[in-house]
């Protein structure tokens, strides 16, 4: 069965989900008064001033029947207008500005989680019930139970407070003051680690890495634990299967049996979980950025929530939902790639 057809089908199924997502956010919006809702549509701070507010409400049909409002809102959202936040800045613009910081954190964490978790799960399964396995299980279950924010605080207290190795924030002050502001450093991608290389200023890259160590560790810890557990149990399951026995009976070396036969099958449940892992990353980013004072998407959402900045929170939520939808799609496709049986559906 064709991989391509499967992808197309999945894309089509996406539409009702996106519809539902937008409906849900819209429903939450409806609980606010038209004055508050106006902020979700406005593009210009002037529109929200008392003398202009009624005109704004008129323009966006905020007193009209629900379905009309929904239509207008969808239109606005898909043209990139997520409204103005409490500080009168365009939500969409702020999100775009802050995105690179979050991307940097999330991507590095993601890589570590996936590679680390798969590797450790394999090791734990291979040496089942022996020292590496026990150590892994203890770590995994602690990781799963640990509050992310607490871990972050503890790490920060020691590694920053006591020994000052890994400070919070994204980059040190000298980077901003001496390099970026005077124009000596162009931010091509917004990711300091990459930009450092692109600018030929590796000290900036190093500085960014130093600031990334603790946040990445904190963010990865919980998800790593999840992946390790799943990988371990699915590896144990796979290793007990007949085709593994047959492969051994064929005379295939054990390392190849583990790698080629068992692991590829064991990755299937892991692929299923990776959707959750990404969701966990998105969740975790909110907390991690807050703890380590990194001005990214998560920190924006957290402070917006505390300050009752509805538009910002809702804009952020919407973006997240879309991200997750796309991620699930990618995961499903990857799934179909790994396991040929799925394509039959």
């Amino acid at each position: 069965m064709n991989l391509r057809v499967y992808i197309i089908r999945r894309l089509l199924l996406l539409i009702p989900v996106i519809l539902g997502v937008t409906l849900l956010i819209f429903a939450v919006l409806q609980f606010l008064t038209p004055f508050q809702r106006a902020a979700a549509f406005a593009t210009n701070p002037q529109d929200l001033r008392p003398e202009n507010i009624d005109r704004t409400i008129e323009r966006y049909h905020l007193n009209d029947p629900v379905w009309v409002q929904y239509g207008i809102w969808i239109q606005q959202v898909f043209t990139g207008n997520l409204g103005l936040d409490r500080n009168q800045r365009s939500v969409a613009t702020v999100l775009v500005q802050r995105a690179p910081a979050t991307v940097e954190l999330a991507v590095y964490s993601g890589i570590i989680i996936v590679i680390g978790g798969i590797w450790q799960g394999t090791v734990a399964a291979r040496w089942k019930d022996r020292a590496p396995d026990h150590a892994t299980r203890v770590l995994a279950i602690s990781g799963w139970s640990l509050p992310t924010f607490w871990l972050g605080l503890l790490l920060l207290a020691f590694f920053y407070g006591r020994v000052n190795w890994f400070p919070p924030g994204i980059v040190s002050d000298w980077v901003t003051i001496d390099r970026v502001n005077p124009g000596a450093f162009t931010r091509h991608t917004g990711l300091y680690t990459v930009d450092g290389i692109l600018n030929g200023q590796l000290d900036v890259t190093w500085d960014a890495i130093v600031h990334l160590v603790l946040p990445v560790f904190t963010l990865s810890f919980v998800s790593w634990a999840i992946i390790t557990r799943i990988m371990r149990s699915s590896m144990i399951e796979a290793l007990s299967r007949d085709y593994v026995k047959f492969a051994r009976a064929k005379g295939v070396p054990e390392s190849v049996v583990v790698r080629r036969h068992a692991r590829r099958n064991a990755l299937i449940p892991v692929a299923t979980v990776s959707g959750f892992v990404v969701a966990g990353l998105l969740n975790g980013v909110v907390i991690t950025e807050t703890v380590f004072v990194r001005p990214g998407l998560g920190e924006y959402a957290a402070s917006a929530a505390v300050n009752l900045d509805i538009t910002a929170v809702l804009g952020f939520t919407l973006v997240n939902a879309f991200l997750l939808v796309i991620t699930n799609l990618v995961v499903d496709i990857m799934y179909a790639y790994i396991d040929p049986r799925i394509r039959l559906e």
Partner: protein, 311 residues
Amino acid sequence: MQPRIREAKFGLNRMKQNPLSIVGLAITLGFVVIALAAPLLAPSPCGRPEVVSCNPNDPFVMPNYGYETEPLPPSADHPFGTTPGRPGRYDIYYGVVWGTRNAFRVGIVVVGLALLIGILLGLVAGYYGGILDEIIMRIVDVFLTFPSLILAIAIVAAFGQNLGNIMIAVAIVWWPSYVRLVRGDVLAAREEGYVQSVRALGASDARIMVRHILPNAVYPILILASMDIGSVVLVVAALSFLGLGVGSNYADWGGLVNFTRDLIVGQAGGDPLAYWYTYVYPGLFIFLFVLGWNLLGDALRDVLDPRVRRR
């Protein structure tokens, strides 16, 4: 009833074999004791001269010992120390003890609520199937598309920051997974012989669902769901930590940790480790609580999993 007792005994036996599950059980029981004995362990000190403000009617409001910025280290008066004075010096020991009770309250209510909705919708979806099933499952999918914490934040931000809203928000985030589980079990049970025969006898749909399918399908899910109490507390703690919680003087673990954020990040070189007690104790309680539930849940899951039981 007999086979159930036998199964339970077998299950208990297996649990005894696993040392981690015993640890989990011990931890959880310990917390239960703390929660129940809260009034004894941390009686309300209202009326004492050092207490600046206090609410004798609501023990969950922590007594305030002053507004000086510097937190007090652990001492005889304050076994776990106090929080920094902004917004108020609260006794951490008092906070974590009553926080235990709060945690149980929140956990049970949220899981209970989520279960209620989940079971209802799951039963209906599984039993009636067809278009109703499709609709419900699509709704579930939509909810599951949101990262849980973020959706909870959105709901709390929109509706207002109080304990009730937090519990509702987390319940809203939680119920979709239960629907899936219940629906699966109901689908399986629906085809069983006994359901067909009762239907042939003319029993109404509601009666079948409640009296026949529900007990069988839902029993394991109840147990699994109660294990979610730990995870729920974790989410609520995160929300409180972010500042979306109840109000800073409420006995809530996450809220207690929130106090110390500035302490740590604010000064480099001003040794935040000196104030370790402000964040270590509350966080430790959260960690142990969740750990206990997770260990217990793991053990129970092992026991209930038919494939593993064969040994």
